[in-house]
Amino acid sequence: MIPLSWYLTFAAALFSIGLFGALSRRNMVAILLGVELMLNAVNVNLVAFWRYGDVAQMAGQVFAIIVFAVAAAEVAVGLALVISVYRRHNTVIAEELDLMKW
C-alpha cells in the first residue's frame, strides 16, 4: 500500500515545478504551461484525499472535476489573451509587456 504522504509529496513537487515555470519562463505560453502543472498537482491532492478519506463522499472528485472546468476556462481565456496580445504587440514575451508600469 502506498502511504498518503507519497502522493502528497509528489503533488507538492509537481506544484513547485509548475510554480517555477510560471515564475521564470519568458514565453507567455510557457507560463500557462506552468500553471497547468500547478492545477494538476492540486487535482492529485484532491483525488488522493478522496481516496484516503470517506470514499462514499465524492467531494474530492467533484472538486477535481470543477478544477478541470476552471482549468479549461483558464486555458481558453489565457490563450486567447496571448493571441490577442501577439496580434497587437507582436510579442509573446511577458517581460516585454509592461503597460501597467508606473
Binding site: L4, I17, S24, V55, A73, I83
Partner: protein, 169 residues
C-alpha cells in the same frame, strides 16, 4: 516495497521529470509535448488511486483538449517563438528560490502532520463511484449549484475567449 509502490515511484519519477522538461525546454512544441507526458503520468496516478473515471477525464480533457490547444497556440504565435536566447527571465533565480521554498514549506508541513502515513481503506464492494459522482453532481442536496456555476463559468470563458481572439479587421 510492494509492486504498487514500485509502480508509483516509477510513474512519479517519470512524471516529475517530464514536468521539469516542460518548464525547461527551449522549444515550446517540445515543452507542450512534455506536458502531454506529464499529464499522462498524472492520469496513471489517478488510476493508482482507484479513480478510473478521473484518469479518463484527465486524458480526454487535458491531453485531448487542453494540450492540443496549447500546440495550436504555439503554432499561431510561431513567428515569435524566440527559440534562441534565454528561455528564462532575469529573475529566474528568484523563481527557483520560491519554488524550492514552496516545496520545502509544504514538505515540512507534511512531515509535522499526523495523517501522513494513513493508508487507504478498501473500496466497498458494489460501490459505483461513477454513478455516485453523477448523482451528487446533479442532486440539489449536493453539488448541483457549483456544477451549474461551473457551466456558467465555462460559457463566460467561451464567450470571452471568442471575443478576445476575434480578429476585428
Amino acid at each position: 516495497m510492494t509492486t504498487e509502490q514500485i509502480i508509483f515511484l516509477i510513474v512519479a519519477g517519470a512524471t516529475l521529470a517530464s514536468g521539469l522538461l516542460v518548464v525547461t525546454s527551449r522549444n515550446l512544441i517540445h515543452a507542450a509535448l512534455w506536458l502531454v507526458a506529464t499529464l499522462f503520468g498524472v492520469a496513471i496516478v489517478y488510476t493508482l488511486l482507484n479513480a478510473g473515471f478521473m484518469a479518463v477525464v484527465q486524458v480526454v480533457v487535458y491531453i485531448g483538449a487542453i494540450a492540443i490547444l496549447f500546440i495550436f497556440a504555439v503554432m499561431l504565435t510561431r513567428k515569435d517563438m524566440r527559440d534562441s536566447g534565454a528561455q528564462l527571465n532575469s529573475n529566474w533565480w528568484a523563481g527557483a528560490l520560491m519554488a524550492v521554498l514552496t516545496f520545502g514549506g509544504l514538505f515540512a508541513m507534511l512531515r509535522t502532520w499526523g495523517g501522513m502515513s494513513k493508508t487507504a481503506a478498501e473500496i466497498p464492494a458494489g460501490f459505483d463511484q461513477i454513478a455516485e459522482l453523477g448523482a451528487q453532481l446533479t442532486s440539489p442536496e449536493a453539488y448541483v449549484l457549483p456544477f451549474e456555476v461551473a457551466s456558467v463559468l465555462l460559457l463566460a470563458a467561451m464567450v470571452g475567449a471568442v471575443y478576445l481572439a476575434f480578429n476585428k479587421k
